[in-house]
């Protein structure tokens, strides 16, 4: 699908990375404001794709652009990116408000306005009144909502979610899905969402990248993807 240059949020140009046993190659572009589901079998390269965009992995070849800017050599902290992992997103010795506050200032120097923003984000994820709680006293779903609140206050245009609901029950998954849709609407963020579940793809994504063996097998709009019966890898993923 052709797209205008300034319409692209994330672009990987001829990116290659060699892990010895596996070689991965990515050439793709994702449009601004979309939720892109990144999916595929285990070991297909989903997390590596995210790590490349976040800057946790350095490509051996090619370049990575975020919002038209070459970030290939940029350190992870300088990139316009927020990350939420499957777990361990919160520092267990810091209370909820500090964990969110780190998203505004990594030295926890917070002003009155910052504290108001944190309170607003906690309200949005349904955790008002939780400010002084410690992560250990929260459920898995609540901890992930705190992590999303931090992504909200960070206001980075690209948000990377690495299986953020993998450890949650089905009921909690749908609640988290609503929050992600809300996050995209209000922050106009571009969201890469790694997931194993076809339901997440159907419910949340605008488009889909399906990876297999470190390569992009297909990249297309969600509606087209959901109707696929071939190739067999995708049919199996969709349960057909």
């Amino acid at each position: 699908m052709p797209a205008e240059i300034d319409d692209i949020a994330i672009r990987l140009k001829g990116v290659g990375i060699d892990f010895g046993a596996t070689k991965l190659a990515f050439d793709c572009a994702f449009r601004k404001g979309e939720i892109i589901a990144v999916t595929g079998p285990s070991g297909s390269g989903k997390s590596t794709l995210l790590n490349l965009v976040a800057g946790f992995d350095m490509p051996d070849d090619g370049r990575i652009e975020l919002l038209g800017q070459d970030v290939t050599r940029m350190s992870p902290g300088e990139r316009p990116v927020s990350v939420v992992f499957q777990e361990h997103n919160l520092f267990t010795h810091l209370d909820v408000v500090s964990n969110v506050g780190l998203g505004i200032n990594p030295g926890l120097r917070l002003g009155v306005a910052d504290k108001a923003r944190i309170a607003g984000a906690l309200l949005r994820v349904g955790l008002d009144g939780f400010a002084k709680r410690m992560p250990a006293s929260l459920s898995g779903g609540e901890r992930q909502r705190v992590a999303l609140a931090r992504a909200m206050v960070r206001r980075r245009p690209v948000i990377l979610l690495d299986e953020p609901f993998a450890a949650l029950d089905p009921g909690l998954r749908s609640g988290m899905g609503d929050l992600i849709l809300d996050l995209r609407r209000s922050e106009e963020a571009t969201i890469l969402l790694v997931t194993h579940h076809p339901q997440d793809v159907a419910r949340l994504a605008d488009s889909v990248v399906f990876l297999d063996g470190g390569q992009i097998l297909v990249q297309e709009a969600k509606t087209d993807f959901m109707l696929r019966t071939a190739p067999p890898e995708i049919a199996r993923f969709l349960g057909k």
Binding site: T22, K46, T48, F56, P76, G77, G103, P106, G107
Partner: protein, 543 residues
């Protein structure tokens, strides 16, 4: 398990428990009940005893503070550099002082920091007139830091490596500075460990005997344990021995009670499965600073070891090997070490088996529960009464029955076995729990009888931990000077005792040769006796 077999197992455990209690109890009774008259004379807490107590606490506090304070930057640097050249060997080196007899280390430290040592020669060449003194407080601190800095570093490194890999990524993604990373990621991981580690180091330093004896250099720098030894062997002043021993028991009791309150540290190797990627400290200044910290730490640990090696190799080994005194010391040492380790492992096996049998039925009687906690508490009892106090008690107890030297071998074997028991218990208990969980029901359902089970199931399954425990107990006994110092005589000379007397008579070359042999054997035995670190999973990272 067959009913009668169950009773046999419990009976064996109770027998061992009784033996331990009797051995410790008799010594304590001898000390407490012997001569209370001296206490009322007001000699109990005379100026000397007060000074010794003050010094014991002072050196322990300082040793602990310095060890912890220096371990923090070293652990941080090592954690930051997972790919530092030779890192695996550096981490192994940190475990080495644990197996080194204190006497050997003392000799190595004198070789480096002594009056004619490498450091003072170096400092003199740099124009510094005042040499570092290895004797007195500074020497004791140096030696305690030599042993405990690596210990503290290992605990802290393990704590840092337990930090979830995501924390480093989140910290980087949030743009945390070096200081913020320390404040929010590293310090919280270390902070929780410090009370436990400090408690352990303080305990080790407060009951340190050999290092203080060899490096104290006079009554001004004496700890309670050394004072007990001197009161017994030089002054023969039983009231003072009793006063000091009671003081030592009270002190260790308070320390043990405090240690109970503190979280015990865990030093296990780490497997997060996920590879840890760190982005901090990638610039050249940080790299140089970390390399400097690691190198200084390694030099501090390696230099005394190298000194033992170099001066040991320079010694006339051929003449030493032909020396009949060395032969006798070697055979005495081996006989004591092998038999004390044997009794130690045997009673360890009996105690653990009895405790696990007692706790096996789902409903345990209060009696069974009491007995099993008495068994697990027996290791604390052994710690409560340090070897020198134990020896002093038996010395006073046996004296009325004739020449103490006659009983010496038995008492030394028993004390050495007791010393090693807490460690042996720690190795055997988890191994036997796993073994019985794996095979217990299966052997029962197959109706395998006692001797067949022992031969076919238990021996193959428990051989490794039992040998490890045996090896470790041997190393502890071989390197021990405390019990032997009290009972040693012309008739009973062990290797450490011979080494100590050669050091005292300035036959330094002989001492160096003996130290090399002793250190080598003990380190090898300790390495055999230490469970291998669990292998770290490679890049099991989901991609």
């Amino acid at each position: 398990m067959v009913f009668s077999e169950r009773r046999m197992t419990i009976a064996a455990g109770v027998f061992c428990l009784g033996g331990i209690m009797l051995f410790v109890g008799a010594a304590a009774w001898a000390l407490l009940a012997a001569d209370v008259a001296a206490v009322s004379e007001g000699r109990f807490f005379d100026a000397y005893v007060r000074r010794v107590t003050r010094f014991t606490l002072l050196q322990a506090v300082l040793s602990t503070l310095i060890s912890i304070f220096l371990a923090i930057p070293l652990a941080l640097a090592l954690a930051r550099r997972p790919a530092f050249p030779g890192r695996i060997w550096i981490v192994r080196l940190l475990a080495l002082p644990l197996g080194l007899p204190a006497l050997v280390a003392a000799l190595g430290l004198i070789g480096i920091w002594g009056r004619q040592g490498v450091m003072n020669t170096l400092l003199a060449n740099l124009g510094l007139a005042q040499p570092v003194s290895i004797y007195g407080l500074s020497g004791i601190l140096l030696a305690h830091v030599f042993f405990n800095l690596p210990l503290a570093t290992r605990f802290m490194l393990a704590g840092l490596e337990r930090i979830p890999g995501e924390y480093w990524l989140i910290g980087t993604n949030l743009g945390m500075s070096r200081l913020s990373l320390f404040r929010f990621v590293e310090w919280p991981a270390i902070r929780g460990l410090i009370p436990g580690v400090a408690g352990l180091i303080f305990m080790l330093c407060a009951t340190s005997f050999t290092l203080v004896l060899t490096l104290g250099g006079g009554p001004a720098a004496s700890t309670i344990e050394v004072a007990i030894y001197q009161a017994l062997r030089f002054d023969f002043d039983p009231p003072r021995v009793i006063a000091l021993s009671m003081l030592q028991i009270v002190l260790t009791g308070v320390l043990l009670a405090m240690a109970r309150l503190l979280t015990p540290p865990v030093a296990e190797a780490v497997t997060t499965g996920r590879r840890v990627i760190r982005f901090d400290g990638r610039n050249i200044t940080d790299k140089i600073a970390d390399a400097l910290v690691i190198s200084l730490g390694m030099i501090f640990i390696l230099l005394p070891l190298a000194a033992v090696l170099v001066s040991g190799l320079r010694a006339d080994m051929v003449r030493l090997a032909a020396d009949p005194m060395v032969h006798r010391a070697l055979s005495t040492s081996l006989a004591i070490a092998l038999s004390s380790a044997f009794f130690c492992v045997l009673s360890g096996l009996a105690l653990v088996a009895a405790r696990q049998t007692l706790l096996q039925p789902r409903r345990t009687s209060p009696m069974a529960r009491g007995l099993s906690s008495a068994i697990s508490g027996s290791s604390a009892l052994v710690l409560l009464v340090p070897p020198v106090v134990l020896g002093a008690g038996w010395f006073l107890l046996l004296r009325p029955f004739g020449d103490v030297a006659v009983f010496a071998p038995f008492v030394v074997v028993a004390i050495n076995a007791m010393m090693a028991l807490p460690f042996v218990y720690g190795i055997l208990d988890p191994a036997m729990a796993t073994h019985s969980a794996r095979t217990g029901r299966l052997s029962q359902s197959l109706g395998i009888g006692f001797f067949n089970r022992l031969r076919l199931i238990d021996w193959p399954g428990l051989r490794r931990p039992a040998l490890m425990a045996y090896s470790f107990a041997c190393a502890l006994s071989l390197g021990d000077l405390g019990a032997v110092a009290l009972f040693g005589s012309q008739d009973m000379v062990t290797l450490p005792y011979l080494l100590y007397s050669r050091m005292g008579s300035y036959r330094t070359a002989d001492a160096a040769g003996l130290a090399l042999v002793l250190g080598f054997v003990c380190v090898i035995l300790t390495i055999i006796g230490t469970p291998p670190e669990r292998k770290v999973e490679g890049n099991a990272d989901a991609r």
